[in-house]
């Protein structure tokens, strides 16, 4: 009984910590919720940008990792947070796929947030085991079309970026492969290097080291333009899959109803962070670049989000997958 009381008291104390209303924004530290575990790629992006925004805003930008349920737990928490600009969300492409993947989503990604600007589109690469027969992307396309289910494609779990990339690839080729889900890209990469699976699509951060070490074979970039770090790698569009474009884009969100002045202030701080040479340099290490100037406004972010939601809906429906 004592335990339960203590547990409840503790939980309550944490849940309602501070609800003061600020006069001049920001007058206290800002929490940016990252809906994934610490140390992951999204977390890294958030911390790099957060550090720079701290200097601009004059208040500490804290990163809080609220993982679970494919990012919907953290996003749902911010959707219900007070719209005062002190609780923000930094989410990736999952914000656009959640409405199609989750039938019982307790919030609406399109309408429950104020978009504060896009951050960075992290490119992905289509990679294969060194034991996999095809030598280049044309051979892969022919091989997958001929062998269909005999080809194994690994991904990091339902709804992950690697899963989306694979679904789009199969939809474009109209050839279903055998999908092997893993819990995270780490174990999937392990089996790809070990030759247990044939193909995978993962962000450059995870694949560059393995490609350079000769442990896996790089076939193509999933972005419209070639990747800076690997300029010789053909894009899937160049290989004949027109319209094929997958990048893990990231965006900053505030809860619906956050005053426009606050959103603009955040957007300006984000814009400045994306021009920060330190951030640009660290992004380059990650194999990515900041969003170009013309894509950084809240208005563009809003329109881009609805376009992405519309883009993924048919792909996910065709594959018939749900994450709940």
């Amino acid at each position: 009984m004592g335990i339960k009381t203590a547990a409840i008291a503790f939980a309550v104390a944490l849940g309602f910590a501070g609800a003061a209303v600020a006069q001049t924004y920001p007058s206290r530290p800002i929490t940016v919720v990252v809906p994934f575990a610490a140390g992951g790629p999204t977390d890294t992006v958030a911390r790099l940008v957060g550090e720079s925004m701290t200097r601009t805003l004059g208040q500490q930008v804290l990163i809080e990792n609220v993982g679970g349920a494919g990012g919907t737990r953290g996003a749902g928490q911010v959707a219900k947070a007070a719209p005062d600009g002190y609780t923000l969300l930094l989410h990736h492409i999952g914000q656009a796929t959640a409405p199609s993947l989750y039938r019982k989503l307790p919030y609406n990604p399109a309408t429950d947030f104020e978009e504060a600007g896009l951050v960075t589109p992290v490119p992905m690469t289509l990679v294969g085991s060194s034991k996999f027969a095809p030598k280049d992307i044309q051979e892969v396309i022919a091989y997958v079309k001929a062998n269909k289910e005999k080809v194994t494609y690994g991904n990091a779990g339902v709804g992950s970026a690697s899963h989306l990339c694979g679904m789009l690839f199969m939809a474009e080729l109209d050839a279903p492969m055998t999908t092997i889900p893993y819990q995270g890209t780490g174990p999937a990469m392990n089996d790809l290097v070990g030759g247990q699976i044939d193909l995978m699509c993962d962000q450059t951060t995870n694949t560059t080291g393995q490609i350079r070490g000769g442990k896996i074979r790089a076939y193509a970039a999933t972005t419209a333009k070639p990747i800076k770090a690997m300029p010789d790698l053909p894009t899937l569009q160049a290989a004949g899959l027109k319209d094929f474009e997958v990048a893990i884009w990231h965006g900053l969100y505030a809860p619906k109803g956050t005053p426009k002045e606050i959103v603009d202030k955040l957007n300006a701080a984000l814009d400045k962070a994306l021009d920060d040479p330190k951030v640009v340099e660290r992004f380059a290490d990650l194999g990515t670049e900041p969003e170009p100037k013309e894509r950084r406004s809240p208005a563009f972010h809003k329109q881009f989000l609805s376009a992405e939601i519309a883009k993924w809906k048919p792909v996910i429906q065709k594959a018939g997958v749900f994450a709940d």
Partner: protein
């Protein structure tokens, strides 16, 4: 020769003043968070990640590595003293370690854990330095079929974790397997047994389950019987190991180190599996397996050596291939990426100062840990003499903080409270929690690898017999003699009831130098009194 050059480079990096400082900071922090229940290395490293932004990559990795293996030292402390394993790998330590503490041998148990860990850490670091690349290749040979066979072997052998009835142990394993089913199906995304609670979408949390089943239920049990509690506190004695103790732990430490070094390389739960495998083997080869579960020092020495060896060798896939073998390694890869180093097979050649510096720092770190931990034993043991009405609210508070910190989720705190009560009920029914926890951990992995193996083989079950490593593992599990089945149950009655009925008896027994040295009758003396049968517990 090349190895010597590399090691010289490594030590020149690790012995710089700055790096010695970060190594010490890491192992000290690791020990502290290991001691605080629930607050594990994952949460700590995640919190410290931003601080490492400003450090050189080598220093950052040395400190984070120190936190990880330091926590393996500290994690056993609470398991032994208050039956509270904060880490999956110290669940096994709690079984015999806490019994030793109850018999007044907490000092000996802690010293065994520290010395075993030190030896294992030193040897495993040597393996890491010499055999990293071939060992990493070996780990890659483990595909889904091999993992499945290994998990089957593990599940069969997990019956040995129980010291009482085999039927009850089986029931607990099945209950653990069923609890492990809760959460989203990773293959289809379908929620299973989540009761529409979003908090259950990722399944129950291991830390909440373990701390409830062990720590909280232990507190309820202690509050029920204060008399016994006082008796335990009064018995604290002998902080160091006797000669007999040393003799009986040498074998288990060596075997534990070997098992831990090998299993640690395998991605996914290496350290946990190794500590439990070491326990099973010690119990299996012991001439007196009935002592296990009642304070056998071998049951502490083997698993503690194994989990520390596993903690060191789990760096192998990360450092040589850039592939994380567990969530902690994934965080370290994150730290490297932030530093601008792309982890991969080239790190060893491109950044030799990083690779060898970290390895050299592990020797230094392990040495610091044993110097740090041996003097602390006296302090920890004195903790047991703190009045329980002061101690238990503190334990509960730390448990709540620890469980909450894992996922920043209130639900886990309620789950811990629930499992605390369930654990108490189960103990009253003479069902032991350790097999349940093992079933909970192994169950999801078993399913995951079975389904993945079948997907890859396109439904052909013969893969388990045609792939060489798996073909060796399967018969080991199928053969009860080789698979580590426990000896037949020795007694129908329970541990708890016999302990209570002997509560006043073991005074003289406790003062005896080495009760273990006595040769035990190999056959169960079915008609003997409960006191005679529970004699090893003193």
């Amino acid at each position: 020769m090349e190895l010597l050059d590399n090691l010289a480079l490594g030590f020149s990096v690790a012995l710089s003043f700055q790096n010695i400082f970060y190594c010490f900071a890491g192992v000290l922090l690791g020990t502290l968070i290991g001691v605080l229940p629930g607050l594990g290395p994952i949460a700590t490293i995640a919190m410290l990640l931003p601080i490492t932004f400003g450090l050189p990559p080598v220093s950052a990795l040395i400190m984070l590595a120190g936190i990880y293996y330091g926590a393996q030292y500290g994690g056993s402390t609470t398991a032994i003293l208050i039956n509270l394993p904060g880490e999956s790998s110290s669940v096994v330590t709690a079984i015999d370690g806490h019994q030793m503490a109850k018999q007044g041998r907490a000092g000996a148990a802690l010293a065994t854990a520290a010395l075993g860990s030190f030896f294992a850490g030193t040897v495993a670091t040597f393996l890491l330095a010499v055999f990293s690349p071939p060992l990493a290749e070996l780990a890659l040979q483990f595909g889904p079929a091999e993992y499945f066979s290994l998990m089957v072997l593990g599940l069969i052998a997990s019956v040995t974790l129980a010291s009482g009835s085999v039927v009850k142990a089986l029931a607990m394993i099945v209950l653990g397997l069923m609890l492990g089913l809760s959460g989203q199906d990773i293959y289809t995304g379908v929620p299973r047994f989540t009761f529409d609670l979003p908090e259950l979408a990722d399944g129950l949390d291991f830390v909440a389950l373990a701390m409830g089943m062990f720590g909280i239920s232990e507190i309820i049990r202690n509050l029920e019987d204060e008399h016994q509690r006082l008796l335990v506190a009064a018995k604290v004695k002998g902080l160091m190991l006797t000669k007999e103790d040393f003799r009986s732990i040498i074998g288990p430490v060596l075997r534990g180190t070997g098992i831990g070094s090998i299993l640690g390389i395998l991605p996914g739960g290496g350290a946990m599996l190794s500590s439990f495998a070491a326990y099973s083997i010690e119990k299996k080869i012991s001439r007196t397996p009935q002592r296990f579960g009642r304070g056998a020092i071998e049951g502490v020495a083997g698993p503690e050596s194994a989990n520390n060896a596993g903690a060191q060798t789990s760096f192998i896939p990360m450092l040589t291939l850039g592939i994380p073998s567990n969530p902690v390694m994934a965080l370290m890869i994150g730290a490297l990426i932030i530093q601008g180093i792309t982890p991969g097979p080239n790190v060893v050649t491109d950044k030799p100062d990083l690779f060898w510096g970290v390895i050299a720092s592990m020797w230094i770190g392990n040495f610091m840990l044993v110097l740090l931990n041996l003097p602390l034993i006296g302090i920890w043991v004195r903790l047991l003499t703190v009045p329980y009405h002061v101690l238990f609210p503190a334990i509960v508070a730390f448990c709540c903080i620890g469980v909450y910190s894992v996922n920043n989720n209130n639900f886990d705190v309620y789950a811990m409270a629930f499992f605390g009560i369930l654990g108490y009920v189960l103990v009253k029914l003479d069902c032991e929690p350790a097999p349940l926890l093992l079933g909970f951990v192994i169950g999801p992995m078993l399913e995951e690898h079975l389904r993945r193996a079948m997907l890859i083989s396109r439904g052909d079950p013969s893969v388990f017999l045609t792939r060489p490593i798996s073909a060796v593992l399967v018969p080991l599990g199928a053969d009860p003699a080789g698979g580590g089945w426990p000896p037949p149950p020795r007694r129908p009655s329970s541990r708890a009831s016999s302990r209570r009925s002997c509560a006043t008896r073991p005074r003289r027994c406790a003062r005896r130098r080495s009760p273990w040295a006595r040769p035990w009758a190999a056959t169960p003396s079915a008609g003997a009194s409960p006191c005679a049968r529970s004699a090893p517990c003193c």
